[in-house]
């Protein structure tokens, strides 16, 4: 019995190692875009993989990509929620400043991203960076593909409005 348990544990670690090789950087980028902060994203991606490692579904799940993104999505939104409860320095000011210093030299882009909610950024990322279709996005966000499409269109409209206003700096 002891030997069996050790074998199972070893297999879990092997599978986890595969997932880390395959998805670590992508999940990190995803977390980063939701949280807009490198340190938070580094913490988050660790926690996402630990959650995956501890999850009973690790050895039985068929569709790893959607599963990991789903864990990351909920984990990051919870972090944002908790941050909004406890952080005294306003989120907008804080992450805007961090973005300017550490994220990208594309200030125009960053200003637009700052104006979006975490959920909206997550959706944009899945569609634009990860190039996922609405069926997969729906699976990750636990909604129907039609709702995913509708939400994406709404976010797109919001981005367009921000561009037209030219006022990402309001």
């Amino acid at each position: 019995m002891q030997i069996m348990e050790e074998n199972i544990e070893e297999t879990r670690e092997e599978r986890m190692s595969y997932l880390i090789n395959e998805y670590y950087q992508r999940i990190y980028v995803y977390c980063f875009h939701i949280l807009r902060n490198q340190q938070d994203a580094e913490d988050a991606v660790q926690e996402v993989f630990i959650k995956a490692f501890q999850n009973n579904k690790l050895m039985t799940i068929d569709y790893y990509s959607a599963w990991l993104y789903k864990i990351a999505y909920h984990h990051c939104l919870n972090k944002v929620k908790r941050r909004s409860f406890f952080q005294l320095v306003t989120f907008d000011t804080r992450h805007h400043r961090n973005v300017a210093h550490t994220v990208s030299d594309d200030l125009e882009l960053e200003e637009i991203m700052c104006k979006l909610k975490a959920k909206e950024r997550a959706l944009l990322l899945l569609r634009i960076i990860e190039d996922k279709d609405f069926a997969e996005i729906a699976l990750i966000l636990n909604i129907t593909p039609a709702t995913a499409r509708k939400r994406f269109e709404r976010v797109k409209e919001k981005v367009q409005a921000l561009i037209e206003r030219g006022g990402h700096n309001d």
Binding site: Y24, Q25, E42, V45, E47, R82, T90, T102
Partner: protein
């Protein structure tokens, strides 16, 4: 790159090209394969405690002008507002200084025995901002049963496993008050820490000390999981939870009690008075994220806590 973005297409292209800071995969891989037990977000521990400390310290100094909550008798029970820009920048500056040493500080905080607390003085911050920049924190006490919350606190707020209906209690954390000290005692202790750090040419000084008091300072509770989760934050006393989203609040009156409701984050804030005690409560639920948000599910929980 500072060119104006002219279309969504251009936005898409620039988003794809945006440089993302790299993460050190190898280091994390070692940690993950070795780690068998859940660990708690070290960053969150420091930031939460730091925030609680800062909140307490500025509560009396800041200008309160944005909103108020009144009780049934029409008496103001809570009011809050924004820090001015300079003050916010100061705290942000202090936070950034601490972030450079967050790993060491968090490691230490995590290994603290229950009840002990740690005081951290960062030389650079202390020289620039003095007393304000020094903070004390303790490890949050994790709980997995509602009965682990001290009885009086639990009873005052009617905290039960099924407070949020079908979303039963999952986990939580409790913060206890640190012992009160006079300003002179605090100043003396900080000066000593500062001198020690300077003598050792160290960037910071950390002192593990004292015992927390048994008085609950705040409680954070999670009911349900993932999309169904509901989070409740309760702070005792006059401390306030501030948010940049204050302006989005709408005031809701229910049976004479005022609530602040933020539709965007599905959150309500309110105050419960028990005798001369005041509990500031925030309930946040994303349960309805796929539907049109309404305050009713949050109010239902609030009513149970108020009755």
């Amino acid at each position: 790159m500072t060119n104006k973005i002219k279309s969504f297409q251009e936005f898409e292209n620039r988003l794809k090209q945006a440089a993302i800071p790299q993460s050190s995969t190898a280091m994390y891989r070692i940690r993950i394969t070795k780690e068998k037990k859940p660990f708690y977000t070290r960053l969150s521990v420091v930031m939460i405690l730091c925030s609680l400390f800062i909140t307490a310290s500025i509560a009396t100094a800041m200008e309160l002008r944005s909103w108020s909550i009144f009780n049934k008798e029409g008496k103001e029970v809570l009011s809050a507002g924004y820090m001015d820009v300079q003050e916010a920048e100061m705290y942000e500056d202090i936070r950034k200084m601490y972030m450079r040493y967050k790993n060491e500080i968090e490691e230490l905080t995590q290994t603290l025995p229950n009840g002990k607390f740690v005081t951290v003085l960062l030389v650079e911050a202390y020289e620039k901002y003095g007393l304000t920049s020094v903070y004390s924190s303790s490890k949050e006490h994790q709980i997995d049963q509602i009965t682990q919350i001290p009885q009086m606190f639990r009873e005052d707020l009617h905290l039960t496993d099924d407070l949020v209906g079908e979303n039963s209690f999952v986990s939580g954390s409790i913060h206890y008050n640190l012992p009160e000290r006079t300003i002179e005692e605090i100043e003396r202790a900080h000066e000593e820490m500062y001198r020690t750090a300077k003598q050792d040419n160290a960037p910071y000084s950390i002192r593990v000390e004292g015992e927390e008091t048994p008085d609950v300072n705040g409680v954070y509770l999670t009911y349900g999981k993932e999309t169904d989760s509901v989070h409740i934050t309760i702070s005792e006393g006059t401390k306030m939870l501030l948010s940049s989203k204050v302006v989005n609040y709408q005031v809701i009156k229910d049976n004479g009690v005022e609530f602040l409701y933020d539709k965007e984050s599905q959150r309500i804030d309110f105050v419960k008075e028990v005798g001369d005690k005041k509990y500031v409560i925030a309930i946040n639920g994303w349960k309805l994220m796929n539907e049109e948000p309404t305050p009713e599910p949050l109010l239902a929980v609030a009513r149970k806590m108020l009755n």
